[in-house]
């Protein structure tokens, strides 16, 4: 069975007076691996619970392949849900846990046994089939939880930060497993996470949720090359922001006088520059460079983060290879090609919120 296309149309949900999801509209393509990304409290888990049918939107519609699911109770939705906690039923063993959903569907015994054996084999837990769940490790528990959801052959697999309680190596291993399972089954997978590196690594589509509404959706590259808003850029780790103004299709940075063409309407704007898209160079008077002084350098494992104080008083962070030798206090320049940096409307997140 192939994955379902999931549509959220104008979905709102409040808890008492606190809005959790405000007017969320998005299409999750069939068969995609979509990350629902956002900081804690942005409404991403609430959204997932609404897709699963465990919560009901105040207004709006949720559709699987165009069919509204609002009247469909959770137990009848073709969606499998895996929580942050494994939530294995302690009174059942591994095998019985995995068979739970099939039992609820009153599948006959031989078929149940067959399907449970197949999925346990797939997640490499055959040897532990008769184990009590209390005797499993954290990674094994999550694999059982995953198998328990997948054995039902859902059309949507909903994962609510399922690996956040595992250590880094195990988490990477589980990501690979989920990714492989997605490729094999083609099930539409919605993965809730607050970790943008995880989202980028694992998902083919990212839906960024900020403050209860969609702050951008696209492939992971988009959020780096052309972030849809300043808030989105900040969430993806942009540290360099040069405020300025747009007039007649031209952005001018206030502190440095740096110019960039833009399609934004007139008004306050910000030039955001990812620290890995710029590099250090020697002062030359070139148009694409800005001069300044290195004031700090931090070793960050894969790169060196250098803070450069530009003339005009602006501080810019640059990532350079760890082999670069940086003399603090020495004059240097930043190579700033036209392609680096994106002009975004200032405080757009506040305006649209």
């Amino acid at each position: 069975m192939t994955g379902a296309a999931i549509t959220l149309a104008g979905v709102r949900k409040s808890f008492g007076d606190t809005p959790a999801v405000r007017d969320l509209t998005t299409d999750i393509p069939a068969g995609s691996f979509t990350a629902l990304l956002g900081p804690s409290g942005c409404g991403k888990s609430t959204t997932l619970a609404m897709i699963a049918g465990l919560l009901h939107p105040d207004t709006g519609d949720i559709r699987f392949d165009g069919r509204s699911q609002l009247g469909v109770p959770a137990e009848h939705r073709p969606a499998g849900l895996v929580f942050q906690k494994p939530l294995l039923f302690p009174h059942l063993n591994v095998e019985q846990n995995v068979a739970f959903g099939l039992r609820m569907r009153r599948l006959d015994r031989s078929q149940t046994r067959e399907r449970v054996a197949a999925i346990l084999d797939r997640v490499q837990l055959t040897a532990l089939a008769r184990r009590r769940v209390g005797e499993l490790s954290g990674g094994q528990e999550q694999r059982v939880a995953l198998a328990r959801a997948l054995v039902l052959e859902p059309r949507a697999l909903l994962l609510d930060e399922p690996f956040s309680q595992l250590d880094a190596t195990l988490r990477a291993e589980m990501r690979r497993l989920v990714k492989d399972l997605h490729t094999e089954s083609g099930v539409t997978t919605v993965f809730v996470t607050h970790d943008q590196t995880e989202a980028v690594e694992v998902a083919d589509t990212i839906a960024l949720l900020l403050d209860g509404h969609l702050a951008g959706q696209g492939d992971p590259e988009m959020f780096y090359a052309a972030p849809p808003s300043l808030a989105a850029a900040r969430f993806f780790g942009v540290t360099n922001e040069l405020p300025g103004t747009v007039r007649d299709g031209q952005f001018t940075a206030a502190a440095t006088g740096l110019r960039r063409p833009t399609t934004l309407p007139d008004g306050p704007a910000v030039l955001v520059i990812r620290p890995e898209t710029i590099s250090l160079t020697s002062p030359s008077g070139d148009d694409d460079t800005m001069v300044g002084v290195a004031v700090a350098a931090r070793f960050a494992g894969t790169h060196l983060a250098v803070d450069v104080q530009l003339t005009g008083g602006f501080l810019v962070t640059v990532y350079t290879p760890v082999t670069t030798s940086v003399r603090l206090g020495a004059p240097l320049a930043i190579d700033l090609p036209q392609a680096a940096g994106v002009v975004l409307a200032a405080d757009r997140s506040l305006v649209s919120g």
Binding site: G53, E75, L87, H91
Partner: protein, 299 residues
């Protein structure tokens, strides 16, 4: 320290199950006195709990026992015969008591389950009021309430019937079941139920296949408590049963009233011993360990 007797050696067990001799640290010399003290305490408590049964046992076997004799002048099996005599009310009383207590335990748990769920799980307006109302039957003397509602039992032809007695005994039992299960629900991770829902279990089957097994210990405790309350209930049974529903406590009071000490002692044994065995068995079942360890081992 190598010659220490095994009972005082603290044993640890490795993952493979092989015991490791305890390291003899500075605290080791306290292990012996602490353990002995604990055993002494457990022994004293057991004696205190079981001592009252001894005169009962002696009385139930006494044919003639007059002051100032220290022991009965005559032993007799009359009391014991009374218990097993099919013509006496005793066996029927045992059946009535057990049947009513079992029915009350089941019904109280069935009512206490949703009630406990409500007070344990949900934060709603007026929750404290509901909680108080649930507990009210325990606070307000049952006798007063029963006198008030007895007229309804008469009107609906429930007085003098077993059904009526079962119903009236729900009054002092449901609060306990609700409170015990409420505490269990308060500690329940509700995400288990949500998980079960998403795996295809409807609301009723979630309760049946997930929540009840998760709360089975609390349910067992609630059933045990309510069974015991019903088992020893006298006043409500007398009022609504009208003497027609003869449970063991009624027979016991009758025997006491007729000054037949031997019969009373024998009946008292019959009232006391089954619940005692039940509690011990339940404690063993709930913990998978011996009852002694459950009741006293962690002192």
């Amino acid at each position: 320290m190598t010659a220490k007797p095994p009972t005082t050696t603290t044993r640890r067990v490795t993952a493979q199950g092989a015991p490791i001799e305890a390291t003899t640290g500075p605290g080791a010399r306290w292990v012996l006195p602490v353990r002995m003290g604990r055993r002494l305490l457990v022994g004293l408590l057991l004696v205190a709990a079981l001592l009252p049964l001894v005169p009962l046992l002696v009385w139930s076997l006494a044919g003639q026992w007059r002051y100032p004799a220290l022991l009965p002048q005559q032993l007799s099996l009359r009391g014991m015969q009374l218990l097993v005599d099919p013509r006496s009310d005793t066996l029927r009383g045992l059946g009535t008591s057990a049947g009513i207590a079992a029915a009350v335990a089941v019904l109280a748990c069935l009512i206490g389950f949703p009630a406990g769920r409500a007070i344990g799980l949900y934060r709603f307006r007026g929750r404290r009021v509901v909680q108080f109302l649930l507990l009210a039957p325990v606070i307000v003397p049952g006798l007063a309430v029963t006198l008030g509602i007895q007229v309804f039992f008469v009107r609906y032809h429930l007085s003098d019937t077993v059904v009526g007695v079962i119903l009236v005994q729900l009054m002092p039992t449901v609060p306990y079941a609700a409170v015990i299960l409420g505490a269990a629900f308060a500690n329940l991770d509700i995400d288990y139920e949500r998980q079960a829902r998403s795996l295809g279990a409807g609301p009723l089957r979630v309760q049946l296949f997930v929540t009840v097994p998760l709360l089975r210990q609390a349910i067992a405790v609630a059933a045990l408590m309510t069974f015991l309350i019903s088992w020893s209930e006298y006043v409500l049974t007398l009022l609504v049963g009208g003497g027609q529903v003869k449970t063991l406590p009624l027979l016991l009071f009758a025997a006491i009233g007729s000054s037949d000490t031997t019969a009373a002692a024998a009946l008292a044994m019959l009232v006391i011993v089954p619940p005692l065995l039940l509690v011990l068995a339940a404690a063993r079942l709930l913990s998978g360990r011996s009852a002694g360890a459950v009741g006293f081992g962690r002192l």
